[in-house]
Amino acid sequence: MKSWKAWKAKHSNELTLLLILLGVFVLMSVLSPSKFLSPGNIQTMAFQMPEFGLMALGMMAAILTGGINLSITSVGALSGIVSAFVLSSPWAKTNPVLATLLAVVVCVAIAALTGLLNGFVIAYVGVAAMLTTLGTMTLFDGISLNLTKGGSIAGFPSLFIQIGNGSVGGIPIPILIYTVAVVAAYYILERSAWGIQVYMTGCNRIATSFSGINTKRTLLLVYVFSSVMAGLGGLIIISRYNSAKVDYGSSYMMNSVAAVVLGGTSINGGHGTVAGTVIAVAIIQMVSSGLNILGVNRYIVDIVIGVILIAVLAIRSLAGIYDRAKLLRKHTAS
């Protein structure tokens, strides 16, 4: 019982989010049982969430260090486009298996490269993350545009299409990939030595480097991680849409920031959990498809998400102020 209390205290934020998620789910189900609860819809959401979720995980890593990665969707698009060239090449027709594998490798590689660029400028040159990624966002978009000449690249091997559209035992492949990525992200960020360094750097970069940790390297890798997540997202996107194009998923950029912050990650870095982000992503996903199914005006979705974001943070910070006051009273008492 006591341990449960402790656990509860430790994860109160995630629990609150779960409660909200539940609330949304119930609300939607009540408003439209036959549609929202239909297996079809559940599956649809399972298909839609991963690409967004991956972007959000990438964004989270950057925000954990007190930075931000505005180039995230551009990275997704760029790496997607490059691997699309591999997939649409005549050679791919003849041997789809190799092509698909190569595409994945290329996608991740390109993403990693973009991450290295971001990371280098941010960690070693020392430019503010926001500025750097604003610049590289334009740069990457430019490259994508240049490569595609604005058109879309299509005609992938059907094997590759499966990545985004297939399912095994009724479970969509994207959600499987996403699950793997989430677990990986959890272990990398919250359980690995490097991950802990990320959190520490986010909390207090000086003290961390005084502890003999190479914070520059840590930071560099954070942006590589961020980009790779975006790359995977891009991969799923091009597979789902059976084509690659510059502006695919552009709408995810600010949404992913919202998801991360909603998930309890501090915008100043150092605190936040993968679980929180994942739940927040689910909330946003549910709100938006839910409202869609209800035939509600598209624009309402943005409004609702904005309101939820501010409301959650407002109450969080009020709670924080309240707790701090309590702590103070305790101190002065002693």
Partner: protein
């Protein structure tokens, strides 16, 4: 403390839901059945006797697609079917796919889509078909066996060439510098018009000289306006501009008007009549070519209805059109419908 948070949020949600009642009507312009189908969970649209036809534009909220929407809704009333006219808020293929997926969940009877990106929608359309939904495309072809019928306001090739002819007519000569200003570099149909136009110009008007690659204006009149100003200066000998996408011609015309170059530079393009009137008046816009958008929307619904009623499409069959009955122009493939030649709007 945290409990409160959860409560307040659910409250916030309910509120926004309430807001929807008022809000939802716009996107589903006037089509009551669709509008309230959300709140009072009238089960599946199909169960409620009348058929439900979903018409999805590339995006909602630009004049062109508002007019097509009105046409579609009109048809809905006349033909006694529910028409859901809804689409993404920006021309993003990803958004569009999601919304189609949600339409499948809503178990509509037919989906007529104007795809932002043909390839992108094919997988989801296949899903829809698997769910027994009738698939049409309109405005922009999907070019895939998944569609049961494809409604073309006009053949892209013809239209691209038509615009070039219009330009030559406006310039009064078939030689000189000209430029293309386009809505976006990644809009398939605009690119199709451009490519067709260029190929045509090369062969038919060899003396027409394109000064620079097509200039993107991200579907914004203001950008088209400034870019045109730049164009005019960068290429002093510029004689004509072909402006693709509905905002672009207006922006170009505005620039020409401001510089008082009506006589010197001719602007033709694809624009909605209503908006282009004022520019046509003072000659800053020489001609705007476009099909009757409302008819397009109407025709699409009307064809969908016919097919849902189980009739087979045949060339020349009688069909209810926006302005009385029309003869169906069906191509040999048995599924490609051409609405007819574009209308050219010029100074009245």
């Amino acid at each position: 403390m945290k409990k409160v948070l959860a409560l307040i949020l659910s409250a916030a949600l309910c509120l926004s839901m309430a807001a929807c009642d008022g809000g939802s009507t716009p996107t589903t312009v006037g089509s009551q059945p669709a509008a309230d189908s959300g709140k009072t969970d009238s089960a599946d649209e199909s169960k409620s006797g009348t058929k439900t036809i979903a018409v999805m534009p590339k995006l909602v909220g630009i004049p062109y697609f508002t007019q097509t929407g009105e046409g579609a809704q009109q048809a809905g009333k006349d033909l006694g079917v529910n028409v859901i006219y809804t689409g993404p808020t920006k021309a993003d293929a990803a958004e569009q796919v999601k919304m189609i997926e949600d339409l499948i969940t809503r178990k509509v009877d037919a989906i007529c889509v104007a795809p932002n990106d043909a390839a992108a929608v094919i997988p989801v359309l296949q899903k829809a078909k698997a769910a027994g939904i009738l698939i049409l495309d309109w405005d922009t072809p999907v070019n895939d066996e998944v569609v049961d019928a494809s409604v073309h306001q006009i053949d892209d090739k013809e239209f691209g060439e038509h615009l070039v002819d219009q330009l030559v007519k406006a310039m009064g000569t078939d030689s000189g510098d000209f430029a293309y200003v386009t809505g976006g570099l990644s809009a398939p149909n605009l690119n199709a018009w451009y490519d067709a136009g260029m190929a045509y110009a090369k062969t038919k008007y060899p003396n027409l000289h394109l000064v620079t690659d097509k200039i993107p204006t991200d579907e914004k009149q203001q950008v088209a306006y400034t870019k045109t100003l730049d164009l005019i200066k960068a290429y002093p000998d510029l004689k004509g501009i072909v402006a693709l996408s509905t905002p672009a011609p207006l922006g170009c015309a505005q620039a020409v008007r401001e510089k008082g170059l009506q006589g010197k530079i001719s602007v033709v393009g694809s624009a909605v009549e209503a908006d282009s009137q004022e520019f046509l008046e003072d000659g800053s816009l020489d001609s705007a070519s476009l099909w009757d958008c409302a008819s397009l929307g109407y025709l699409t619904v009307s064809i969908a209805k016919t097919m849902l009623d189980g009739q087979k499409l045949t060339n020349g069959m009688e069909l209810k059109g926006k302005d009385g009955t029309i003869k169906l122009q069906l191509k040999s493939d048995g599924k490609t419908i051409i609405m007819g030649p574009p209308a050219d709007y010029v100074k009245k």
